[in-house]
């Protein structure tokens, strides 16, 4: 009886522990296993006869209408030539995709091409997961817009090609601005935005029915506002967090002041949930102005029942914005032949003809210099000047920090600034805390 009980006991904790450990990984397994088998089949075929097309896997991380556009472009690429067949697969948001890519690299069934969020290019390149694209590109990388290449290089080597690139924009409800007698082009400075927000905020009894302004309490918008205040996130050598400074405090002071005045709403929800809430509030006309990505532009224009406008993020000391979105990379572990095919696909995907259509269909920026001059792109800009705002704002753009520990550090910063917004910490304490925690992370 005792022995039996001991057995049950060991079994129970064993089972518990194993489900605890493997529980994390299991969700990632279904997706990679399928391309793996096709991979093996493809490379075997290639060896038998050189006429069979090379199959490559492409994992992407934008959903909805933007994801459909990717599928459409891939299909066209496959039909445009006979040597390469690309199999696209949607793998969740940027960070979910990163997780899947890493576990697939470990398991040896990685894709050949994938999107990587720009701030993570450094971590991936540093770990030697990515293929150096210098010899493949052989100078052709000069066709891309210079301001978008800041997150493409790691230790002076080319690892990533810009694809779905964005900046944050100020989205404005022009109908509401006009109704309040304000400049329909939107506010130009922080002070102006604050007074605009005050004029558009409406209260019904004790409840606010319309907020003037809303922004997800997210690292990306915080980075933008630090740049606008003349600051930096990291020192040039990437070893020191610089936000415990006037420029780092200014955005938090601005946000908390506006929340105190009742003119700003911090959308509830974590990470991308908060972004969805902000967009939804804007579409429902419960918020007059929001910060969100230019990648939402097409979606907003289609769904809004009012005149949607976009503008530069307002300036504090100057205009300023990080760029965002994802780059395309080739995985180092792929076979030689597939890597070549993969780069061919990337060049096609990001070439002027395709990037123009991609931009028009989504609101992301075109990525080549030629695209800005192309007749098709100009027609889009003329028809809806909102599509040009992000491109114009790029002159004030900076790359995102991309040291390997930045993913963890950005969560630390977000937690601290959320504490401030929720009133659980003072600005000084929060930034000091972030600075202390950063020391360990930046040493890696």
């Amino acid at each position: 009886m005792r022995k039996q009980k001991l057995g049950v006991f060991l079994g129970t904790i064993g089972l518990a522990a194993v489900t605890g450990i493997t529980g994390c990984a299991s969700s990632n397994q279904a997706a990679p296993s399928e391309p793996a088998t096709t991979d093996a089949g493809a490379s075997a075929e290639v060896k038998q006869s050189s006429n069979a097309p090379v199959q490559i896997d492409f994992w992407y991380s934008v959903g909805g209408a933007n994801g459909e556009m990717i599928e459409k472009l891939v299909k066209e690429y496959n039909e445009s030539q006979k040597n390469i067949v690309v199999k696209p697969a949607y793998q969740g948001n940027y960070y979910e995709n990163h997780t899947k890519v890493l576990s697939s690299v470990t398991a040896g069934n990685q894709p050949d091409v994938t999107m990587v969020e720009i701030a993570s290019v450094g971590a991936f390149a540093d770990a030697k997961v990515l293929e150096d694209l210098g010899s493949y590109a052989a100078g052709s990388e000069k066709k891309y817009i210079e301001g978008l290449m800041g997150n493409s290089y790691w230790e002076d080597k080319l690892y990533a090609i810009p694809f779905n690139r964005s900046t944050p924009l100020l989205y404005i409800n022009r109908d509401m601005l006009k109704a309040a007698g304000l400049d329909p082009n939107g506010p130009k400075t922080w002070d102006e935005m604050r007074s605009f927000a005050e004029k558009m905020t409406k209260k019904d009894g004790g409840k606010t029915s319309v907020f003037g302004y809303s922004s997800p309490i997210d690292i990306w918008f915080y980075e933008a506002m630090v740049f606008q205040s003349g600051g930096e996130i990291l020192s040039d050598d990437g070893k020191k967090l610089m936000i415990n400074s006037e420029a780092g405090k200014a955005p938090l002071q601005y946000w908390t002041d506006m929340m105190k005045e009742g003119t700003m709403k911090a959308p509830p929800g974590e990470k991308y949930n908060a972004w969805d809430v902000a967009s939804q509030d804007f579409l429902n006309q419960q918020v007059a102005m929001i910060f969100t990505t230019t990648g939402e532009l097409k979606n907003m224009r289609e769904k809004a029942k009012f005149d949607v406008g976009t503008a530069f993020l307002p300036a504090n000391k100057s205009y300023g914005t990080p760029t965002g979105g994802a780059n395309l990379v080739v995985l180092k572990k792929s076979p030689e032949e597939e890597k070549k095919a993969a780069f061919d696909f990337i060049s096609w995907m990001t070439d002027t003809a395709q990037t123009t259509r991609w931009s028009a269909a989504t609101g992301y920026m075109p990525v080549t210099n030629d695209a800005l001059e192309a007749a098709e792109m100009k027609a889009v800009f003329d028809k809806d000047p909102n599509f040009k705002v992000a491109v114009d704002q790029l002159q004030y753009g900076k790359p995102r920090p991309m040291v390997p520990g930045y993913k963890e550090l950005q969560e630390v910063i977000m937690t601290e600034i959320q504490k401030v917004v929720l009133g659980q910490s003072t600005i000084d304490d929060a930034l000091k805390q972030a600075e202390t925690k950063s020391e360990k992370l930046l040493k890696k």
Binding site: I13, C24, T99, V105, T106, F124, A127, P268, G269
Partner: protein
């Protein structure tokens, strides 16, 4: 009828052979059972004991999924780091609050539901099915559903509160209420299963005990305390363990509903392990935290068995 020399000899030989046979059979007797359980044993070693051992091995290393070749022995450094990390303390405290909150509320609630629903009429059967239904819905759908219900602005719960003149509640949006909201979801999800198991337990209690009690004019409360509860203790014991362990490993609701926030207020062990290992590329920290999780569940289960040996009445 005297036995001849020849037959004596042959019987001696026979004896030797049987002795040999016997020792052989004794040997096979000892080995054979292991041969029988070999497939199961291999299975357990491969899929249970090896992973546990490997996890412990990994917890003494600094490694990340980014670059497995750069694995480095660091001794107890990972454990030292999490033991000193105030975020990890918060994670453990959150897990404990969540676990005990969920298990206590869920078990008490389902016990009374079971007492109420343990009847023959059709309506009680329908009620049982209704209470059980959340159990068969996937946790992901449950999470999405409750996110909508708890939305501070468009959610049903706040609409109801406001309709009756109460102020809107913050639900998942504030550090003070997010953990409670997650407990509510898991109670809603788990109470049906517990109720059904309790009802099964109640129905297995022999009626004659109750008859004897009623002949002795024992009151309802007294019957409950002196007969129902003790007779139900194996069920209660089983449910407590199952619930404790599953609550300790909560992941899906956190992943979908809160991502550990706001400000880490709903960050719990398994999510912490996932985040460290998969998002922040700190494999060593993740493995060390997994060992802590294994230890905590082990201690809890051990205490339970120790307690059960004294208090649970098996028949």
């Amino acid at each position: 009828m005297q036995p001849t020399m020849g037959t004596q000899q042959s019987s001696l030989v026979k004896e030797k052979v049987t002795m040999k046979k016997r020792s052989l059979s004794r040997w096979t007797e000892t080995v054979r059972p292991y041969a029988y359980i070999m497939p199961a044993l291999l299975f357990f070693c491969l899929f249970f004991f090896f992973p546990i051992g490997y996890m412990i091995y990994l917890s003494f290393h600094d490694w990340s999924l980014l670059d497995l070749s750069a694995m480095e022995w660091v001794g107890l450094a990972n454990f030292q780091e999490i033991m000193l990390d105030s975020d990890f303390h918060l994670v453990v405290i959150n897990t404990i609050i969540y676990t005990f909150g969920t298990v206590a509320i869920s078990l008490v609630l389902s016990f009374f539901l079971a007492l109420w629903l343990n009847r023959q009429a059709k309506i009680y059967g329908i009620m049982q099915a209704a209470v059980f239904s959340p159990h068969i819905i996937s946790l992901v759908s449950v999470s999405m559903l409750w996110m909508w219900l708890m939305d501070p602005q468009y959610g049903l719960l706040n609409a109801i509160l406001e309709f009756f003149g109460f102020p809107a509640y913050t639900w998942l949006a504030d550090t003070s209420s997010a953990l409670l909201s997650l407990i509510l979801v898991s109670v809603w999800k788990g109470v049906g299963y517990n109720t059904i198991v309790f009802i099964a337990g109640l129905q297995s209690i022999p009626k004659d005990i109750y008859e004897a009690a009623s002949l002795d004019r024992a009151g309802k409360l007294r019957t409950l305390a002196k007969i129902t509860l003790p007779m139900l203790s194996p069920t209660l014991f089983f449910l407590t363990i199952i619930n404790l362990i599953s609550s300790f490993q909560v992941f899906d609701t956190i992943y979908i509903m809160t991502q550990g926030g706001p400000v880490n207020s709903t960050n719990m062990l398994v999510f912490y392990i996932y985040e460290q290992g998969m998002d922040f590329y700190n494999g060593g920290i993740a493995s060390a935290a997994s060992v802590v999780l294994l230890g905590l569940i082990g201690v809890m289960t051990f205490l339970h068995f120790w307690f059960a040996e004294r208090r649970v009445h098996y028949r």
